[in-house]
Amino acid sequence: MIDIQNVTYHHGRSLILDDVSLRLKKGGITALVGPNGAGKSTLFALMARLLPLQSGSIRFDEMEVGKTGTQSLARKLAILRQEANVASRITVRDLVGFGRFPHHQGRASEADEAFVQKSLHEFDLASIADRFIDELSGGQRQRALVAMAFAQDTDYLLLDEPLNNLDMYFARSLMQQLRALADAYGKTIVIVLHEINYASGHADEIIALKQGRVALQAPPESFMTAENLFAIYGMDVQVETFGNRKIALHQV
């Protein structure tokens, strides 16, 4: 369970997060949505201890962020940041291999190697495993970064806009893979999404942030209504039901 209590964050004089309290149950996919500048990435950075907490507390099960060593946290949660621009010339295999670093601190065992191999296969990277990441397309690099987070093999996976740079095919297959991970391994995945329909189609729960506050936390069925979307994004959106999924027709 992720327990966020009374988190407030200021950047200079502007208020980014305003007394956010959230409780995310263990297992499953939670999508974090909201307009640009709502504070999603900041909340993420605080959860992943990349920014120091100014007030409030965040706990992953029994581990409290800020009071748990960074190494222990690295075995509890993995994070993919939005602007993870890797400039180094290292191979995909080595990059994914670094996902195992929290477990072996530099001395990889055979089990670690096997897990890396599994991650490469899982994310369709085996054929480009020996290419340098600076020679890949944006989408391939994105998949390599997700694979690295997967290789970290943590209970919690925080992904900040992982669908960036991915085409339709890989965007959907990544969401399906995350679904499978959550179902098969009981992982807890928190994912920042801009495309509301991916949230509706694949998440168990959707949380909307607006102006630094929690605007709504609900399962997709009740989240996806024209009124809610208007309240969050300030635009009229038609919501249709296809099969058992609700889809917002916001592109037209």
Binding site: L50, A74, S88, L95, F98
Partner: protein, 330 residues
């Protein structure tokens, strides 16, 4: 779609390493056999077997000094580039060497009788502070402009060096600045270069942290996400860079471009994963500097051109070629 590149198989690294080792062995023999005193390798070795003579006194120390200085400076450059996440920096161009010189000038003025050990300590500390200052400076630069980083470093180094020069001028120590900033090996004799072994050992110690440096090179967020103590790793790496720089400055003088050109060449072929690349960086660094020293010794025989000057000229062209011939990024 990006350009199709052949998979980087280990054989590239193996072939490269083997051929460089072969070249290096030839260069070592050449370096041992050339000099103003005419003698044959056979004579040199038979004298050395008795524990005396030219080989042990001068030619072997000189050869070892070039190798140690080249290898450790190349490693320092590689580590600095990894930690700063910029390919165009090296200790000589971002003020680290100038800071070391400033520290050494300072200690020479305040404590003229200080021993070599305390001088080294002050020099290394000053280089470390200088490197930290540079890092704090480049943090404020926009990430979209990678070339601003080396430019900023050159200005920064210029300011520090002008302070050092002023202090040296006021205190009649100008000759030191000249010696420290222009690397050359003609003065290397047994008993006068051994500090470079320490420099080499420090560079070797850096290898133990190779993975941590590579991870730090992925950026602060990614590194923290992997549970790495980021600032500790940065400080450790900068300490290694600072000590190698200071030790080189005081023994043979700074050799600019070594830390810039060598890591770039090696990275081009075998990538940036420190654990795999560092040994090759050290090997190529030593080979290039030894080659430059030999050239400097034979071009105007029996006079000498400083190895630093030779390397500067060749290194500039190699680097320009690398810069212009670099494959376009995806």
């Amino acid at each position: 779609m990006p350009r199709e590149t052949p998979p980087q198989r280990p054989w590239i690294r193996v072939t490269l390493t083997t051929s460089i080792v072969a070249i290096l062995l030839c260069l070592i023999l050449i370096s041992l056999s050339i000099g103003v005193i005419e003698t044959s390798l056979a004579d040199l070795f038979s004298q050395a077997a008795d524990g005396e003579g030219l080989l042990l006194l001068s030619r072997l120390p000189r050869t070892l000094a070039t190798l140690l200085a080249g290898a450790s400076l190349a490693v320092a450059g590689f580590i600095l580039q990894t930690l700063v996440q910029n390919r165009f920096v090296e200790p000589a161009t971002v003020g680290t060497a100038d800071s070391a010189a400033l520290g050494l000038i300072g200690v020479s003025i305040v404590l003229p009788d200080a021993g070599i050990f305390s001088k080294m300590l002050v020099g290394s500390l000053a280089a470390f502070v200088g490197a930290l200052g540079f890092l704090a400076l480049v943090k404020r630069l926009p990430r979209t402009q990678p070339l601003l980083v080396p430019l900023c470093g050159i200005f920064y180094g210029g300011v520090i060096s002008s302070v050092a020069t002023f202090l040296a001028y006021e205190n009649d120590l100008m000759q030191y600045i000249g010696i420290w900033m222009n690397g050359e090996f003609s003065g290397v004799l047994q008993g006068r270069y051994e500090l470079l072994w320490a420099s080499g050992l420090i560079a070797l110690a850096g290898y133990a942290y190779a993975d941590k440096f590579t991870i730090a090179g992925l950026g602060r967020d990614t590194a923290s996400g992997l549970g790495l103590n980021y600032s500790q790793t940065i400080h450790l790496g900068l300490a290694i860079v600072a000590m190698v720089t200071a030790f080189t400055v005081i023994t043979v003088g700074m050799l600019p471009f070594v830390g810039l050109v060598v890591p770039n060449i090696v990275s081009r072929f075998v990538g940036d994963n420190s654990r795999k690349v560092l040994p090759l960086v050290a090997l190529v660094g030593g080979t290039f500097v030894l080659g430059s020293d030999i050239l400097g010794r034979v071009l105007r025989f029996p006079y000498e051109i400083p190895a630093g000057a030779i390397f500067g000229v060749i290194g500039t062209f190699v680097f320009l070629w690398l810069l212009l011939a670099r494959p376009s990024r995806a």
